[in-house]
């Protein structure tokens, strides 16, 4: 018995890290997701969204945001691969969770869906600011649009927006076009245009503005027009992905099911674009799509197979790198014609577009420039929606050795001739001078 229990504990000891590493480099799709709600009723009111996640194999763990046992990690290991925060009004999380630990969670490469709503708490605003998204500072403000509202908006204050301005990216929103407008009711946010990590996925129309619908507009609203972002994504430098939405209702069953007709538009859709939009976005954020992996950076001289320790100037070399894309289940070869390699020393000396064999191998060949120094092969691939690839490999380039120069240069033959005739002439002269009477 003792032995068995010991071996069981041993096995569990080995299994534990294995389990906790289910999210890994080789299998980037998230598996275990913590859902934080400020009200358990959200579980049923947003059940379609949660069920699609479950059906795709995610292991959802619903917790109240105030739950005092909340913890993202235990013994230094993260318990979850993804986090969904549907708790816009929560002022404080329970347990050990706070805005910093959520930022750390993202910095560890894990993903986050955050939804704010009208009167979002400072905590939620703080988290979104950490991710580069600034919500309207007026906590009672909502997005109002008097031209592209949904006609099903019964209140008449034009806060149910029918947004159609989606980012054009098959990677983020899937290949099938989202026909119907996306219904949105919530708070506006803006992005810093210099921040190249965040991206508007769903923007407001030019006629939108952010204000409190129940009070009179006294001054010009701070956020207006297409500067307003409704839903944004952020891909951190470590490729952690974050979705930030200004509307919790966007994910709700009600808006999923409701039909939509944009004001002034004759097209009436049976079903809003919300479900497709949210599902595709969740596929992207949980790394089911658009995740690249590169490796096997190989270079060698033309005609050789081994990687040399050093190149010589003007060597011909071949370079190849393998890039694969994660399809959600397996690694598929990545096909593109815009992957480039730099031969780099303070600035790129060679910049070549790689050609692919459609099996994931990208290759090219080029001549080492006539400059010696410590170079790098650099593959920097940044494409909208895809994970950033940044690979480099250092390789020195040396000048010619002393015996690698031409021994005799044809143009210098007159000089060789002059040299030898002088020597011969001197010899003859000495001979004549010394022995001629």
């Amino acid at each position: 018995m003792m032995n068995i229990s010991r071996s069981v504990s041993l096995i569990s000891l080995f299994l534990l890290p294995l389990l906790s590493f289910s999210f890994s480099v080789d299998n980037p799709t998230d598996r275990r997701v913590l859902v934080l709600l400020d009200d358990l009723s959200l579980k049923s009111s947003h059940s379609i969204f949660f069920n699609t996640l479950k059906s795709r194999g995610f292991d959802l763990d619903f917790k109240l945001a105030e739950d005092s046992k909340l913890a993202l990690q235990r013994y230094g290991q993260y318990l979850y691969d993804g986090l969904i925060i549907f708790a816009p009004s929560t002022e404080r999380f329970g347990g050990s969770l706070d805005s910093k630990s959520i930022a750390d969670f993202v910095d560890s490469g894990r993903d986050l869906i955050l939804s704010a709503d009208t009167s979002a708490s400072d905590l939620i605003r703080g988290i979104s600011t950490e991710c580069g998204v600034d919500f309207d500072e007026d906590s009672s403000a909502m997005v109002i649009d008097h031209t592209s509202f949904s006609v099903s908006d019964v209140d008449g204050d034009h806060t149910l927006i029918a947004a159609e301005d989606l980012v054009k990216s098959d990677v983020i929103l899937g290949k099938t076009k989202i026909e119907a407008p996306v219904l949105f009711r919530g708070v506006a946010h803006s992005l810093n245009p210099t921040n190249n990590l965040v991206l508007k996925v769903l923007s407001a129309s030019p006629s939108a503005y952010s204000a409190n619908p129940s009070s009179k507009l006294l001054s010009a609203p701070q956020l207006t027009g297409s500067a307003i972002s409704l839903v944004s994504v952020m891909q951190a430098r470590n490729n952690a992905r974050v979705v930030i939405s200004g509307s919790l209702q966007l994910f709700s069953d009600r808006l999923f099911r409701s039909g939509v007709q944009k004001a002034g538009s004759p097209n009436k859709y049976e079903k809003s674009g919300n479900e497709q939009f949210v599902t595709e976005l969740s596929k992207w954020v949980f790394h089911e799509r658009g995740h690249l992996k590169a490796g096997n950076l190989v270079h060698h001289r033309v005609g050789e197979t081994d990687e040399p320790a050093i190149y010589r100037i003007k060597d011909d070399l071949e370079f190849s790198v393998e890039i694969f894309e994660w399809s959600g289940k397996s690694w598929e070869p990545y096909v593109a014609n815009d992957v480039q390699v730099q031969f780099y020393m303070m600035s790129p000396y060679v910049l070549k577009t790689l050609s692919t064999d459609k099996k994931g191998l990208f290759h090219t060949s080029f001549k080492v420039p006539d400059v010696y120094g410590v170079f790098q092969f650099k593959v920097e691939y940044e494409k909208l929606g895809y994970t950033t690839l940044s690979l480099s490999k250092q390789i020195p380039v040396r000048p010619y050795r002393h015996n690698e120069y031409e021994r005799f240069i044809p143009t210098a033959y007159p000089y060789y001739g002059a040299c030898f005739t002088t020597m011969a002439g001197f010899f003859v002269f000495s001979f004549v001078y010394l022995y001629h009477k």
Binding site: E130, E137, N196, R237, G373, V374, H402
Partner: protein, 777 residues
């Protein structure tokens, strides 16, 4: 050695002569032992390590040579320095020292004497200083006889200036170059005295060795033409002069061009042009003498007008060609270091990187006394002695001392070239003085008893001055040169052995006899002077010049403190960082980092690329963010600064900082020196400028410094620092050595996320109150 030209054998004087030779050989051996052992203080007091900065590079190169052989060394492209440019070591290094030590190591190892490369490197300099003192003996003997030679050798063996560059462990080019310099001069004088083509060839080879060893070879190739010119101008032209000079220029230039680092510079740069010009002149003169020999005086006068007019035209053309060459040569004439020799203010005006090196500064008067001590007073006497009589050889020595005094006044480093000249002069002076005094004493002692002997003594001592004076008058003492040198060879201890009969054609026979008491007193004073010199030299060797500078010691009330921070931190680097990590530091520490920590550096002590150094200087003088961007673009992982404020180590980076600003500002004009100075004063206390207090060097040096004593008192600058509590935003402190002398920082990785703006605004409003309490937020 002097025995070679002995007087007719079989007499007691021959016996004496032989005894003198043996004695001088023994003395020379002892001088060698002295030269070697006086340089061992550093090993005894510290340990057998390589010293300072450059020696570490030489050591690393020697290791590479001994491991990979000469061809790999020749073609070595070093990718661990000057990242990412790299450096072609084989083509940019003077290989003489490395090849010498490598050869010694190889010979010892093939004799089954398993010494490590490091040991060989440590002891190369002492061994070669023994060689140098023997070479001095040879040179001085050619000038003024073996007595002066022995004195000069003994002086050189312990001259502090030379000791400072050749203590055990000081494995630098100068260690072998000084020997090569003296030996080349000796061979030149020897050729001049003998007219032997054999010595001329040897001279060219010695010159080649000198070119291999040190950039100071340009001193030789300018000094010898100058002397030749001097001889020609003073009417001392002779075939011997031609043989001494012409082969040296031809062979020497060809050989010099073989050294990769010199290459075509041997014919392209202005430093070498003097030799070519004189080469042409000596040929013209030779031609003139030849024509004079074959023509009658009348015809000669006609010929002279003809030749002079043609010669002027030729000279004009040659000068024009030379000027054109100078204008088209890649360096536009003179290199910066040479220009700073001619115009001492040149470097500080135009090339801060040359001026920033302390050994390129002009010396102060005390440093003359420190480095050559009493020799400074003996040199004038030596010069006077050289003028009685003035021979080719002694005029060379005079020229040598004049030039080296000038150059040493420009650059403190060139005191090293002055030292042998001063030793030779002082050796001559001492030996002559001893001659006169001992002869006077002998005259008085034997005056009553033995008049014959005394007469002999008189004449012999007289020979030195009077006979030589006559030779000086006749001007062309060529045919007697051999005799003269042989005479002088015997002068010192063997005056009675001299054959007075040979030189009895002298004008006056009256001896220069001083009063007995005066001689005794003067002799005692001279001996005391020598004793002081020895005491000073031993003190300098033991205390002043034996510190390896990588290990510091300080004596305080509670005993000896050892500061081994440099090796501590280099060891930390080599154990805690990745092999390919790049370490940025000011260039002073580049060689040590590559040699001791084996990490790639951005700049090092071989300051060949001013822009690259300026980049590092700019980064050090920029605020954190800009500095981070510069370092990141160079793939730097770690930044190393040297800080002496805690223990009072004065040559730290803060004291060198203005040079970084100057060098950086020379290339990147947005760095302005005035921004770092408050009213022209360089200060780091509360009066310092904001630019100064926010630059990277200040921050990296004084980060957390206030935690040491609560006030942040800098013991080098003797003031409290200006900005005490601050945080680093782009750098992480990863290592600080035991006495805080070396601080290593790691560049923070780029932020994973970019924050929005909203919260910052809030923070500003909320923290406005606390800002008063915590000024560093």
């Amino acid at each position: 050695m002097a025995a070679l030209e002995s007087p007719p054998p079989g007499t007691p004087s021959a016996m004496r002569h032989a005894f003198g030779s043996v004695l001088s050989a023994l003395i020379l051996l002892l001088i060698g032992v002295l030269a070697f052992s006086i340089r061992l203080f550093s090993v005894i007091k510290y340990e057998s390590v390589i010293h300072e900065f450059d020696p570490y590079f030489n050591y690393r190169v020697t290791q590479f040579l001994s491991k990979n052989g000469i061809y790999e060394f020749w073609n070595w492209f070093d990718d661990r320095t000057w990242y990412p440019l790299g450096r072609v070591i084989g083509g940019t290094v003077y290989p003489g020292l490395t090849l010498t030590a490598g050869t010694i190591w190889w010979v010892l190892n093939s004799l089954n004497i398993p010494l490590s490369v490091e040991t060989v490197c440590v002891f190369t300099a002492p061994v070669f200083s023994a060689f140098a003192s023997w070479a001095t003996y040879l040179l001085t003997k050619e000038v003024k006889g073996s007595g002066a030679g022995l004195a000069a050798a003994a002086l050189l063996a312990m001259v502090p200036s030379y000791i400072s560059r050749s203590v055990a462990g000081s494995y630098d080019n100068e260690a072998v170059a000084i020997f090569a310099l003296i030996f080349t001069f000796y061979l030149y004088i020897k050729t001049l005295n003998t007219g032997s083509l054999f010595y001329a060839t040897l001279n060219a080879i010695a010159y080649f060795y000198m070119v291999c060893s040190w950039g100071g070879y340009t001193f030789i190739i300018n000094l010898i033409p100058m002397h030749v010119l001097l001889c020609i101008v003073t009417g001392r032209y002779s075939p011997r002069l031609y043989i001494a000079y012409a082969p040296l220029v031809v062979l020497g230039t060809l050989l010099a061009a073989l050294v990769p680092v010199v290459g075509f510079n041997a014919v392209l740069t202005s430093e070498h042009f003097a030799s070519f010009l004189v080469f042409i002149i000596i040929h013209v003169i030779a031609l003139v003498y030849y024509i004079k020999g074959i023509l009658s005086p009348k015809m000669f006068k006609v010929a002279v007008t003809l030749v002079v007019s043609i010669g002027l035209v030729v000279c004009f053309i040659v000068v024009a060609v030379l000027v054109a060459l100078v204008a088209s040569s890649p360096t536009k004439g003179w290199s910066g270091r040479s220009l700073s020799l001619l115009d001492p203010t040149y470097a500080s005006k135009y090339i801060p990187i040359i001026a920033s090196v302390s050994e390129h500064q002009p010396p102060t008067w005390p440093s003359y006394f420190m480095d050559i001590n009493v020799l400074a007073f003996l040199v004038p006497a030596g010069i006077v002695a050289c003028f009685s009589p003035l021979s080719d050889a002694s005029s060379f020595v005079v020229l040598y001392i004049v030039m080296s005094v000038y150059f040493s006044g420009v650059m403190v480093r060139l005191m090293l070239v002055l030292a042998p000249a001063a030793c030779i002069m002082s050796g001559i002076a001492l030996s002559q003085a001893f001659d006169v005094f001992t002869a006077s004493i002998k005259y008085h002692l034997s005056g009553s008893s033995n008049s014959k002997d005394d007469a002999e003594d008189k004449t012999s001592t007289n020979n030195a001055s009077k006979d030589d004076g006559s030779a000086g008058k006749t001007d062309k003492g060529e045919e007697s040169a051999k005799e003269r040198s042989s005479r002088k060879g015997k002068k010192k201890e063997r005056e009675p052995a001299d054959k007075p009969s040979v030189k009895s054609k002298i004008v006056k026979k009256k001896a220069l006899v001083l009063p007995f008491e005066a001689s005794i007193v003067a002799l005692l004073l001279l001996i005391m002077l020598g004793a002081f010199y020895v005491i000073h030299c031993v003190w300098a060797a033991a205390e002043a010049y034996s510190a390896p500078s990588i290990v510091l010691t300080s004596q305080s009330r509670d005993g000896l403190h050892v500061f081994d921070d440099f090796r501590e931190s280099y060891a930390w680097l080599s154990h805690n960082t990745d092999v390919d990590d790049k370490v940025a530091s000011w260039w002073d520490y580049g060689y040590q980092t590559t040699a001791m920590a084996n990490r790639t550096v951005i700049v090092d002590n071989n300051t060949w690329n001013n822009t690259h150094i300026a980049t590092v200087g700019t980064a050090m003088s920029s605020p954190e963010k800009a500095a981070w961007e510069i370092f990141n673009s160079l793939d730097v992982k770690y930044v190393l600064v040297v800080f002496g404020g805690l223990i009072g180590y004065p040559s730290d980076d803060i004291n060198k900082f203005l040079w970084m600003v100057r060098i950086g500002g020379g290339v990147f004009p947005h760095i302005k020196e005035a921004d770092y100075l408050r009213d022209g004063q360089y200060r780091i206390d509360s009066e310092a400028t904001p630019t100064m207090l926010n630059c990277l060097m200040y921050k990296l040096s004084y980060y957390r410094f206030v935690e040491t004593d609560g006030k942040g008192f800098d013991r080098v600058r003797r003031t409290e620092i200006g900005k005490k509590n601050f945080k680093l935003t782009h750098f992480d402190e990863v290592f600080t050595s035991h006495h805080w002398m070396v601080r290593i920082y790691k560049l923070k990785p780029q932020k994973n996320r970019i924050r929005g703006r909203a919260k910052k605004l809030k923070l500003k409003t909320s923290s406005s109150k606390s800002a008063k309490k915590n000024p560093w937020i």
